[in-house]
């Protein structure tokens, strides 16, 4: 039975003194892990040296591997497994959306924002919002374009919702699948420093579609020039996010294949935007008001005939 004295708190000497008293005692040393600089406030860091690390993701690859190993340990038939894909807070989702709309040149979206915590909330709900935004905006824009005509009878065009849903969800899931398969195949041939998991690719694609939501709302404006300017603008923004993400993953490969991959990514993205614009939004049949030109031709003809 322990006496009261043994249970009282005892001051231990400094480790050095104890060791000096008994040099043969076994010792255990625990080191402080070296603090890896957080990337969330990356704008405070030196942009020069950190840039390549940011793009390559080598500075925290060990840590991310550890995190990835710790997280998804539940078997895939349990509910907890899928909960790990929704482990995001509101501010994280908002940060990721902001990062997709304002791409910082030189910063990799996956390394900066996703950081081995890919979520399925963003891709799923951004796609759902985009489907309904395109359908509703298309309907509204057609309504405004055909408004004055006597033969026009408004229809809600509900069929187009299912078509929009199929297109956008297919794009957001099948293209990442194909890209992931392609990158895995190239990885087996050429040792790439950077490789992404399937969910990270889905995440990037999902968040990069966010810019199309305000674009689709602005497509209601029935001016061809405005619409095409919007297409180009949004394509530049979201395309740059995709390019900056995937360029480091392919640049160690054969130069032609790398350029072809990035070009294919951009082409598919452009195809989606242009296809949605063409299918869901009727062309505005606005005549170019040019009463001056016939008169000018008339005067030139008159003068020439003189």
């Amino acid at each position: 039975m322990a006496t009261a004295d043994d249970l009282k708190f005892q001051e231990f000497d400094d480790a050095a003194n104890l060791l000096a008293a008994n040099p043969d005692a076994t010792t255990i040393s625990i080191d402080e892990p070296v603090e890896i600089p957080k990337n969330q406030h990356s704008r405070l860091q030196e942009p020069g040296r950190e840039e390549d690390d940011e793009l390559l993701g080598t500075d925290d690859s060990d840590k991310t591997e550890l995190l990835a190993g710790q997280k998804k340990s539940a078997p895939f038939w349990t509910f907890e497994y899928y909960q790990t894909f929704f482990d995001v807070d509101t501010y994280q989702v908002l940060d990721r959306i902001k990062g997709s709309v304002f791409p910082v040149p030189g910063k990799n979206f996956v390394r900066l924002y996703i950081r081995s915590n890919p979520d399925l909330y963003g891709p799923f709900w951004i796609c759902a919002t985009l489907v309904f935004t395109i359908a509703v905006s298309g309907n509204l824009s057609n309504f405004f374009i055909h408004l004055g005509k006597p033969t026009y009878h408004y229809v809600p065009e509900f069929r187009k919702v299912s078509i929009a849903a199929t297109t956008i969800y297919a794009y957001a899931w099948l293209v990442p699948l194909a890209l992931w398969g392609f990158l895995m195949w190239r990885n087996s041939k050429v040792m790439n420093i950077v490789s992404y998991s399937f969910l990270e690719i889905v995440c990037v694609y999902g968040y990069s579609l966010f810019i199309y939501i305000p674009t689709a709302m602005l497509w209601i404006i029935p001016q061809k020039v405005v619409r095409w300017v919007l297409v180009v603008f949004s394509l530049c923004l979201s395309g740059s996010v995709l390019v900056m993400t995937f360029w480091p993953a392919v640049r160690d490969d054969n130069r032609r294949i790398a350029v072809a991959t990035v070009a294919a990514i951009l082409l598919l993205h452009a195809l989606l935007a242009v296809g949605c614009l063409a299918y869901f939004f009727d062309a505005p049949e606005l005549d170019i008001p040019a009463p001056i030109i016939p008169a000018h031709n008339g005067t030139t003809v008159v003068t020439k005939s003189h």
Binding site: M1, F86, T90, W125, H153, V155, R159
Partner: protein, 217 residues
């Protein structure tokens, strides 16, 4: 352990607390008696429960009646009546008209299931059917709006009627969203509330859009 021999609780420290017995626990006698009651009583009891929930939706307070005794009769009745009222719209030969009955049904139920799954995956503590019950019952204001829209459209389909319909549908959409958020928001983790509320907003927005764009033949 000799040190513990003289440990005792003094007599004048009161031991008190509360034990709540969950309401609705059935004793065997009760079960036996409901088997014998007339059918009218059984139906009236269920109807009263559904009616009480309707009242809770129209005047949302932070009561747990909706959550505790969930039922799906109310959502079914609302969904079927909304889908029926959305029929008879402009179905051109192009067949590009309004939503079919099955489409409305699928959108409401599939949408409610997806939102429930979403809130559970984000860490919500509400049960699956409780959430379905709340989302289904909160379609009631929009069903009322649909009824009003059809009545207004009987009077005419001009700009004035459109503005009236817009105001009514907008107000009911706000009411639905606020009512369901009032019931569901407490069961979510605090830093993810917006992530859970946004899909509910989208869900009722889509239903409101279907109601607003309903045009008769």
């Amino acid at each position: 352990f000799p040190g513990l021999a003289d440990v005792s609780i003094s007599q004048d420290i009161p031991v008190e607390g509360e034990i709540t017995v969950p309401v609705g626990s059935h004793s065997p006698d009760e079960d036996y008696s409901t088997l014998d009651e007339p059918v009218k009583d059984t139906i009236m009891r269920d109807l009263k429960a559904v009616g009480k929930k309707f009242v809770h939706v129209m005047y949302p307070r932070k009561s747990s009646a909706l959550l505790r005794d969930w039922d799906l009769w109310g959502p079914l009745v609302l969904c079927v009546s909304l889908a029926l009222m959305l029929q008879g719209g402009s179905a051109d030969s192009k067949d590009d008209g309004g939503p079919q009955f099955a489409e409305v049904f699928v959108i409401i139920w599939f949408g409610a299931v997806v939102i429930t799954l979403n809130s559970k995956l984000l860490g919500g503590t509400i049960s699956f059917f409780q959430s379905l019950c709340v989302l289904g019952y909160c379609v009631l204001p929009l069903t009322v709006a649909m009824l009003v829209c059809r009545l207004v459209l009987l009077a005419g389909a001009g700009t004035v009627s459109f503005i009236i319909r817009l105001i009514v549908v907008g107000a009911m959409f706000g009411w639905s969203t606020l009512a369901s958020t009032a019931f569901l928001a407490d069961s979510q983790p605090p830093n993810r509330k917006a992530l859970v509320v946004y899909p509910i907003f989208l869900f009722y927005f889509v239903i409101s859009w279907m109601i607003l764009t309903f045009t008769p033949q």
